[in-house]
C-alpha cells in the first residue's frame, strides 16, 4: 500500500514555496516529485525594464539570506561589460562582505540543522554567535540583511581603523567557538547518530545531477568557483576548499564548519592586506553591446548570471540561476529511499531559510483521501517521539 504526501506549496524549509509530492511505502519514501513556481516573481522579465543601477537593487532582492551574492554576481558582470576596473580597496571591501555573509549564512544553517535533528541547545548556541557577525555586517554596511554596499564600479562605504579592529575581534571569538562546534558536530554521539547516513548522495550522483556548493563538496566533489574561476581577490588569498566524503548530512555539517574556518582566515588576510585608495570608480550609464557570464560562489553554491547588453542603459537579457535550483534534482534523489522522519532534516541540509513564517504539511490518507493539516514543528515532534514511544526496554512496564 503506498501513500502520497504532498509537502508544500507553502513550505518554508526551502527559501521559496515549493511543492513536493512524496510516495511512501510504510515509512520509506519510494518516489518524490517536485513542482516550482509558487514564488515566481518574473525578475528576469522585470530586469529588462530597469537600468543598470536599478537592477543592482532588484538583484539584491532575489534572496534574503544571500542578497550580497546576487548583487555581487551582477555587478561583476556589468563591470566586465562596461570595461571598468574597480579599485583594489573597493574589491577587498566587497569580498570582505561576501565572506561575512557566508559566515552568517552557514551559522544560520548550522543552527537549523541542530534544531531539525532535535539538538536545540546547539541551535541556540550557534544563533547566539551569529549575532556577532550580524552586528559586524550592520557596522560595515548599515544593514543587517540587504547590505546595499555594491555599486557598479566598486562599493559605497569605506572601512576605518576602528571597524577593522572590531571585525578582527569578532572573528577571533567566532573562530574559537566554531572549532568547538566542529568538535561537537563530528563527535557528539547522539547528534552524529541522527545525521550520519541520512540523505545519501554518492559522488557519481552528485556529478550526474550537477549538484553545487556544500552539497557537492560533502559528496567528495571538490568544486568551488572561488578556486576554479578565481574572481577578484580570491587568487591573492591563501585558503583550501573544504570537502568531506561521507556523502550525508554529517558531511554537509563538517563541510560548512570547515568553510567557516576558511572564511575567518580569508577575512583576516583581507583586513591585513586592505590597500589604500579609492573605493569606487565612476561608471558609465550605458554598456556597449556584448555578453558575459559571471560566476560567484554563494554560501549555497555556484551562482551564475548571464547578461547580454544591447548598447542602451538597460540589459537585453539577464539570466539568473541561483544555487538552490541547481540542488533540487539532487534533493529529489536524496529523498528517495529515505524515511518520512528524515524529510525535515534532508530539506534543511540543502537550504537553511527559516525566516519565512508558518510551516505546514498536509498528510493525505491514501485510502480514504482525507487530509489533515500538521505543522512542520508537529511533524518534527512526532519524528522525535517515535523512538521514545517504541516498545523498548526503557518503556516496558516493570513487573514487580
Amino acid at each position: 500500500m503506498s501513500f502520497n504526501i504532498p509537502i508544500g506549496p507553502q513550505h518554508p524549509a526551502l527559501k521559496e514555496p515549493i511543492s513536493l509530492r512524496m510516495t511512501i511505502e510504510g515509512e520509506v519514501i519510494t518516489d518524490a516529485d517536485i513542482r516550482l513556481g509558487y514564488n515566481h516573481r518574473g525578475i528576469e522579465k522585470l530586469a529588462e525594464e530597469r537600468n543598470w543601477i536599478q537592477n543592482i537593487y532588484l538583484m539584491e532582492r532575489i534572496c534574503g539570506i544571500c542578497s550580497h551574492s546576487h548583487a555581487t554576481c551582477y555587478v561583476q558582470a556589468v563591470e566586465r561589460l562596461m570595461e571598468i576596473a574597480p579599485p583594489k580597496r573597493g574589491m577587498y571591501i566587497r569580498y570582505l562582505v561576501s565572506e561575512l555573509e557566508r559566515i552568517h549564512s552557514h551559522l544560520l544553517w548550522l543552527g537549523v540543522a541542530g534544531h531539525e535533528a532535535g539538538f536545540d541547545s546547539f541551535f541556540m548556541y550557534v544563533w547566539r554567535d551569529r549575532e556577532i557577525v550580524m552586528d559586524l555586517l550592520e557596522m560595515v554596511s548599515g544593514n543587517r540583511v540587504h547590505y546595499a554596499i555594491n555599486t557598479v564600479g566598486g562599493v559605497r562605504r569605506d572601512l576605518d581603523e576602528t571597524q577593522k579592529a572590531r571585525i578582527l575581534d569578532g572573528i577571533a571569538t567566532l573562530r574559537k567557538r566554531s572549532e568547538y562546534y566542529l568538535h561537537i558536530g563530528a563527535n557528539e554521539p547522539s547528534f552524529v547518530a541522527r545525521i550520519a547516513g541520512v540523505g545519501l548522495l554518492p559522488k557519481e550522483q552528485a556529478v550526474a545531477l550537477c549538484a553545487v556548493g556544500p552539497t557537492a563538496r560533502a559528496s567528495g566533489w571538490d568544486r568551488d568557483v572561488r578556486k576554479e574561476d578565481p574572481y577578484a581577490v580570491y587568487d591573492e588569498l591563501e585558503w583550501q576548499v573544504a570537502t568531506a566524503d561521507t556523502c550525508d548530512v554529517l558531511g554537509r555539517v563538517v563541510v560548512r564548519i570547515k568553510e567557516l574556518l576558511e572564511s575567518y582566515n580569508m577575512i583576516e588576510q583581507m583586513i591585513k592586506k586592505l590597500p589604500a585608495g579609492d573605493i569606487a570608480v565612476r561608471a558609465p550609464r550605458k554598456a556597449k553591446p556584448g555578453e558575459t557570464v559571471s560566476r560567484y560562489e554563494a554560501p549555497r553554491g555556484e551562482n551564475i548570471h548571464y547578461i547580454k547588453a544591447n548598447g542602451t542603459e538597460k540589459p537585453e537579457r539577464l539570466k539568473v540561476r541561483a544555487p538552490t535550483l541547481g540542488n533540487y534534482a539532487a534533493t529529489v534523489f536524496m529523498l528517495k529511499k529515505g524515511f518520512v522522519a528524515d524529510i525535515p532534516l534532508i530539506f534543511a541540509a540543502i537550504d537553511p531559510c527559516i525566516c519565512c513564517a508558518e510551516r505546514v504539511v498536509t498528510l493525505v490518507d491514501g485510502r480514504s483521501g482525507a487530509s489533515s493539516l500538521v505543522s512542520l514543528s508537529d511533524l518534527r515532534r512526532r519524528a522525535l517521539d517515535r523512538p521514545a514511544n517504541a516498545l523498548v526496554k526503557g518503556k516496558a512496564e516493570w513487573p514487580f
Partner: protein, 156 residues
C-alpha cells in the same frame, strides 16, 4: 589546460561543427548548429570531461531563439550556443546525457515555448496550473499590463 590548448584540441576534434570565440580568460563560447547538439555534447562529455551544466539560457533574437548551455570544467567555462527558428522552435533533449539538465529544459519550455524533444518529463515547471496555453513570458513580444488598481470609495 590553458584556453589556447583547449581551443586547439576542440578544433582538431570537432573542427567542422563548431565556431569558437574566446572573449576573456576561461570563457569559451562554442557556436553549433541545432542538429549537432547531442553529438557535440556527447563528445564534450566523453572526451573533454565536461560533465557539469550550470544552467540553460534562452534568448529571443526576433526571427530565432538562441539557447545557451552553460557548462563548466575546473579550468574553463564552455558556453555552447545554438539557434532554432521562431516558427518551429524544436531542440533535442540533453537530459539522457546529463541528468541534471532536466529542470533547466523544463524551464525553457515554459518560458520560451521551445519544444525539447525526447525530454523524459516535460510537464510544466514554473508557470501556474491555470496559465493560458501559448503564452511564453520571456519572449520579447509578451507584455504584462498590470491591472488598474481600484480603491473602494475612490482615492481620498
Amino acid at each position: 589546460m590553458t584556453d589556447a590548448e583547449l581551443i586547439a584540441k576542440l578544433q582538431a576534434d570537432l573542427g567542422g561543427r563548431i565556431e569558437i570565440d574566446n572573449p576573456g580568460p576561461r570563457r569559451l563560447f562554442l557556436k553549433i548548429a541545432a542538429p549537432d547538439l547531442v553529438p557535440v555534447v556527447t563528445r564534450l562529455r566523453d572526451a573533454f570531461g565536461v560533465v557539469f551544466l550550470s544552467t540553460i539560457s534562452g534568448l529571443d533574437l526576433g526571427a530565432t531563439f538562441e539557447i545557451i548551455y552553460h557548462f563548466s570544467t575546473p579550468t574553463q567555462d564552455l558556453n555552447v550556443r545554438t539557434e532554432v527558428p521562431r516558427e518551429a522552435p524544436r531542440v533535442a533533449s540533453i537530459t539522457p546525457l546529463i541528468p541534471g539538465a532536466i529542470l533547466y529544459e523544463r524551464e525553457i519550455q515554459d518560458m520560451f515555448g521551445i519544444v525539447v524533444e525526447g525530454i523524459p518529463d516535460g510537464r510544466p515547471l514554473l508557470l501556474p496550473d491555470d496559465w493560458p496555453a501559448g503564452q511564453f513570458p520571456l519572449r520579447k513580444d509578451w507584455h504584462y499590463d498590470r491591472p488598474v488598481e481600484v480603491i473602494p470609495g475612490g482615492e481620498s
